[in-house]
Amino acid sequence: MSDVLLQSLITGVTIGSAYALVGLGFAIIFNVSDVVNFAQGEFVMVGAMSAVSLLAVGVPFAVALFLALVIAVCIGLILEKFAIEPAKSATVVSTIIITIGASIFLRGLALLIWGKDFHSLPAFSGETPIHIGSATLTPQSMWVMGVTAVLVFLVHQFFNRTITGKALLACSANPIAASLIGIPVKRMMLFAYGLSALLGGAAGLLIAPIAFTSYDAGMMLGLKGFAAAILGGLGNPMGAVAGGVVLGVLESLGAGLISSGYKDAIAFIILLLVLFFKPQGFFGKAGEERV
């Protein structure tokens, strides 16, 4: 029994790390622009699929990963420039539909380019697992957790220690005031989308060797990332990370103890319960409506 628990914990933290990265991207964009970016999951898919294609045409592994990240970031920048920026005064419902439209558009594009086949990346460094009791820990899992930890640390430092990071926070606090003290708000928005696409792309590369990827793999990952961000309290980047890991662990415990078919249902039931009983998430501040 404890082995099942341990194995679920390992799997959960691994997949939860991916959710955490996607959720972190959600939180960053939401902070700066008040937009929930439903196309976040597509960054994950674009990252993984681009890497697969680049490898297939003979690009060296490390270069392929790097280029895939560049492609994901470009998609993020294009999305902001051509879909979010023109619709500045849009309502919540409008921005939800725009970003869902963008995600469907990207999925359609991926379908044209890559077809419906499932793809996978080779593991970054070998397949020999480490045994802990009867549970196993693959090197790729360690890559996922390690790189996620590093990225989260860097983002945290970025927001707290650099001028650009603080400028970004200023934009989220009050865009007008930020522009008055000379922060280029538009460029900051662009930067936020780029950064969150980078995080999504990285998540895609990290888990592609574990989970298969296909043109429609982004949707569920995006939704889970959204769930992670909400669990942590929308707009709290580190809360989103915690939310992602918690979601991953609970989901894989549920899959191990109940049934793997209901894995996604478990994630969303947890989400609904949190929304019903603690709508501001675990680490969010309670908001109030202004008349």
């Binding site: 939401f30 929930v36 879909a83 023109p86 619709a87 849009a90 309502t91 919540v92 419902v93 409008s94 939800i96 539909i97 725009i98 869902i100 439209g101 963008a102 995600s103 469907i104 558009f105 990207l106 999925r107 359609g108 594009l109 379908l111 044209l112 949707m219 939704l223 959204f226 769930a227 909400i230 929308l234 049934s259 078919g261 209901y262 996604d264 249902a265 969303f268 039931i269 989400l271 609904l272 929304l275 019903f276 709508p279 409506e289 008349v291």
Partner: protein, 322 residues
């Protein structure tokens, strides 16, 4: 009677179409799908357009209606009408149950919660394979029979589906023009403001959520009998999105906009058959394009341009709508 002018225009179009084009595929076959989708969109518009509450999970209610009809008539050989009734009751129960906690949420949280609900219901259709048939779905759903009249041809379905649509539109119109309708729009304008004026916003939001769910479930039952076969794919997150697009494309809080939206979105894949691979791409592009350039929706945007050509100097006191 003036307020029903649009209704009679709609009824005339629906009646004339099959008379003028009796063998046209787009009228007798696609027309049935349009009517079914439009029925859901009209219900969803009450919630989204008039009350301002988004639902990204309405495909779930459509699915509950369809699966209730499908399961009860095939596994238990019930009478289709009894199954339909049970489907509506089940939907009522589920909607009433989740409406209270869900509608307390706003904006993105509401979107996420309804989306999550839709996905949970969809998984419940896929997973218990021995009951629901899993991803393959249910087949051999019997035909519907009205007073000894088997509804088994395209044109008969056209009549039934469009009759149901007109009934739905009639109910919606009366609701919009009633005191409840005014309260709904007040809630949309400002919840706090509506509350100050003595509107029980929680009760009214729940009521309209249930009504829009019932619209979807009723359409679901019809859909199950019309297709004779249902699978979870028809009730996925993707369909919930399409429903929202239908409402938005037509223009929210427009009385006939959602029907227009449903017609456009249902015909789209049929006309795009030549570009089959591009269908998804184009749907996404349309969603973005409309929201960025015509945020009021295609129908409202267009009808505001056309109306002045026909109506001279009447001062409209009706709130937004076409």
């Amino acid at each position: 009677m003036k307020r029903y002018r649009g209704f009679f225009a709609l009824a005339s179009i629906i009646t004339l179409a099959p008379i003028l084009f009796p063998v046209n595929y787009f009228v007798t076959v696609v027309g049935v799908s349009i009517a079914i989708n439009a029925l859901i969109a009209v219900g969803l518009n009450l919630l989204m357009g008039y009350t301002g509450q988004i639902s990204l999970g309405h495909a779930a209610f459509f699915g509950i209606g369809a699966y209730a009809s499908g399961l009860l008539t095939t596994l238990l050989s019930w009478n289709p009408w009894l199954a339909l009734l049970v489907g509506l009751l089940a939907t009522w129960l589920v909607a009433e149950l989740i409406a209270r906690p869900i509608l307390r949420l706003k904006g993105h949280y509401l979107a996420m919660a309804t989306l999550g609900f839709g996905i949970i219901i969809n998984i419940l259709m896929v997973q218990p394979t021995h009951i629901t048939g899993g991803p393959d779905g249910l087949s051999d759903i019997p035909v519907l029979n009205i007073l000894g009249w088997d509804i088994d041809s395209d044109i008969r379905w056209y009549i039934v589906a469009n009759g149901a649509l007109l009934l739905g539109v009639w109910v919606a119109l009366n609701l919009i023009n009633s005191r409840i309708g005014l309260a709904l729009r007040a809630v949309h304008g400002s919840e706090v403001g509506a509350q100050m004026m003595g509107v029980d916003i929680e009760k009214i939001k729940i009521k309209i959520f249930v009504v829009s769910a019932l619209f979807a479930a009723f359409a679901g039952s019809l859909f199950a009998h019309q297709q004779g076969f249902i699978s979870p794919d028809s009730f996925s997150f993707h369909f919930s999105i399409e429903l929202v697009v239908m409402v938005v494309l037509g223009g929210m809080a427009s009385k006939y906009g959602p029907i227009f939206g449903a017609a456009v979105l249902t015909m789209l894949p049929e006309t795009l058959v030549v570009f089959e691979d591009y269908e998804v791409l184009i749907l996404g592009a349309i969603m973005m394009g409309i929201m960025i350039f015509l945020p009021q929706g295609l129908w409202v945007g267009l009808s505001q341009k056309i109306k002045p050509l026909f109506i001279k100097k009447t001062i409209s006191v009706e709130p937004a709508g076409g």
